[in-house]
């Protein structure tokens, strides 16, 4: 589904990603871990198409298409979803309006008819239940005055509404209390199918108690220095990154 080869990217002339290789297949859950500043969020931003970053080398194919040549919105319409680490507030724009535009824009891309108002409301009700999101929030302005937990739930709600092929969740667990973490993580698990894939970027093992990854990668200084199975996350939680960095982080 997603094939990243030797990806290099920089911001303001500073190289952040220094040769990433990553293969994600349908039905898989990948976790990307690593110390602060290793490039995890940059990888997510570059895949989503954030124009702040310049790709200097490498290629990315997504569902057989050259991802790097596509605009942010076309990547989204093709089925790439990014759960933001810091969801943005949009004053005056209601969640319902925003989502209706987004859902119908993605349907148009796939050659489908737009949803009627009734179909849309039904979809919103169903999907907000997945993350126990108060339906009242959908009539409020996007993320405005939402608590930290509500913002993250709202990300997963949008993911549920848009039903992406590939979801990249950038530190969705940061700033969540135990209950919100359980709700968000359970929501993500419910949305997982053999046809789609999830890449979870996280600092902590505790998220992976709920979202069990097939593969765990460790990112360090812009490269994936080690890949293992779910037991790797447990080992990292206990022993930290130093043993890996000492062994593989040198070059």
């Amino acid at each position: 589904m997603l094939s990243v080869k030797n990806l290099h990217a920089s911001v303001d002339g500073k190289e952040i990603l220094r040769g990433i290789d990553l293969e994600v297949r349908a039905g898989e859950v990948h976790a990307i871990m690593g110390p602060n500043g290793s490039g995890k969020s940059t990888l997510a931003s570059v895949l989503a198409g954030n124009e702040k970053f310049t790709v200097t080398e490498g290629s990315v194919s997504f569902l057989g298409r050259d991802l790097l040549s596509m605009s942010i919105e076309d990547r989204a319409r093709l089925g790439l979803f990014l759960g933001f680490q810091y969801p943005v507030e949009i004053p005056g724009v209601t969640m319902a309006n925003f989502m209706k535009l987004a859902v119908n824009e993605q349907r148009k891309f796939r050659g489908e008819e737009p949803l009627t108002a009734a179909q849309f409301l039904k979809l919103m009700r169903e999907k907000s239940a997945i993350v126990e999101l108060d339906t009242k929030l959908t009539s409020r302005a996007v993320n405005e005055g939402f608590s930290g937990g509500e913002k993250k739930k709202n990300e997963i709600f949008q993911m549920a509404m848009l039903d992406p092929q590939l979801a990249i969740l950038d530190e969705t667990d940061s700033g969540l209390d135990i209950d919100a973490l359980r709700i968000v993580a359970t929501g993500v698990t419910k949305l997982h199918t053999p046809q789609n894939a999830t890449v979870v970027i996280t600092h902590y093992q505790r998220l992976l108690d709920y979202i069990v990854p097939d593969v765990v990668h460790v990112l360090y200084k812009g490269r994936i220095i080690y890949t293992g199975d779910k037991t790797l996350a447990l080992k990292l939680e206990k022993e930290g990154y130093d043993w890996l960095i000492n062994q593989y982080g040198g070059q």
């Binding site: 943005v88 005056g92 724009v93 891309f109």
Partner: protein, 274 residues
């Protein structure tokens, strides 16, 4: 002249110059292009008044609120008109003003809080494009103790438009425990558009809670990115953001059919930006 359909039945059209409201008016009153209008809201009475400018003429509106009266004033500019509005408020009265300039034009407000516990809220927005010139002046006078005022004025200038906001909060020597907030937020959509904003305070009492703030900036690029990541085109995202910025002010007036008509105007105006 611009045609404007309110999309509402039963709103009372006002043609006379002087009007006294004694009870609670169930339907909004509408005055179109008045040259002069004088409205008195009696003690305990309440009304909604919509003033619309479709012609580039001068206009003078005076409102007097007796004790405990309520006035919801919606002031809409669809043409380059010049309007002076003076509102005088007795104790415990409340006036909420929504001012929307969708053309060039000049709106000038003078809010006089003369009785304890009087409240004035003003939400204003101007959106100018092309060669338009929009001005909004607001003078809020706290003349006695224990009054509250809150004004939030937003501006958008596109193309070669020039806009100006002048806000003055005056607090008289005896107006203790005044609560006055003033905010001006502005977005420039082009390199050649200009907005000048001057929020000011003039305070002669010592026990007051007053604040003011002003920002002028571009569109929020983080929000645009966020919306595009969900599948909206850059144009749609920009449009939605402007609609939100304006709608935030417009929707507060609570007159829904009017809001919808105004927001349609806003959408049409965005289409015309170069």
């Amino acid at each position: 002249m611009t045609t404007f359909d309110f999309g509402t039945e039963g709103w009372r059209r006002v043609s006379q110059e002087v009007l006294r409201i004694e009870g609670a008016e169930p339907m909004p009153l509408v005055a179109t292009d008045p040259a002069r209008l004088c409205v008195e809201v009696a003690g305990g009475a309440a009304t909604q008044l919509v003033v619309v400018h479709r012609e580039a003429v001068e206009c003078r509106v005076e409102c007097r609120l007796d004790e405990g009266a309520r006035l919801e004033l919606v002031h809409l500019f669809l043409a380059d008109a010049a309007a002076d509005v003076a509102v005088t408020q007795a104790a415990g009265s409340r006036c909420r003003t929504t001012s929307v300039l969708l053309a060039g034009g000049r709106a000038s407000y003078r809010m006089r809080l003369e009785g304890a516990g009087a409240e004035s809220e003003l939400g204003g927005v101007f959106f100018a494009a092309g060669e338009e010139h929009a001005e909004l002046d607001l003078r809020t006078e706290h003349l006695v103790a224990d009054c509250r005022s809150d004004s939030r004025v937003k501006g958008i200038a596109a193309d070669d438009a020039v806009c100006r906001f002048g806000g003055m909060v005056y607090v008289a020597p005896d107006a203790q425990r005044t609560d006055a907030q003033q905010q001006s937020r502005n977005i420039l959509l082009s390199d050649t558009a200009r907005i000048v904003t001057r929020p000011q305070l003039e305070i002669y009492a010592d026990d007051v809670k007053c604040s003011h703030g002003a920002t002028v900036g571009q569109m929020d690029s983080e929000a645009i990115l966020y919306m595009r990541q969900r599948g909206l085109s850059e144009m749609q995202a920009r449009r939605l953001q402007i609609e939100g910025f304006v709608g935030d002010v417009v929707r507060r007036c609570g007159l829904e059919p009017l809001c919808d008509a105004v927001m349609e105007r806003v959408a049409a105006k965005m289409e015309q930006i170069r």
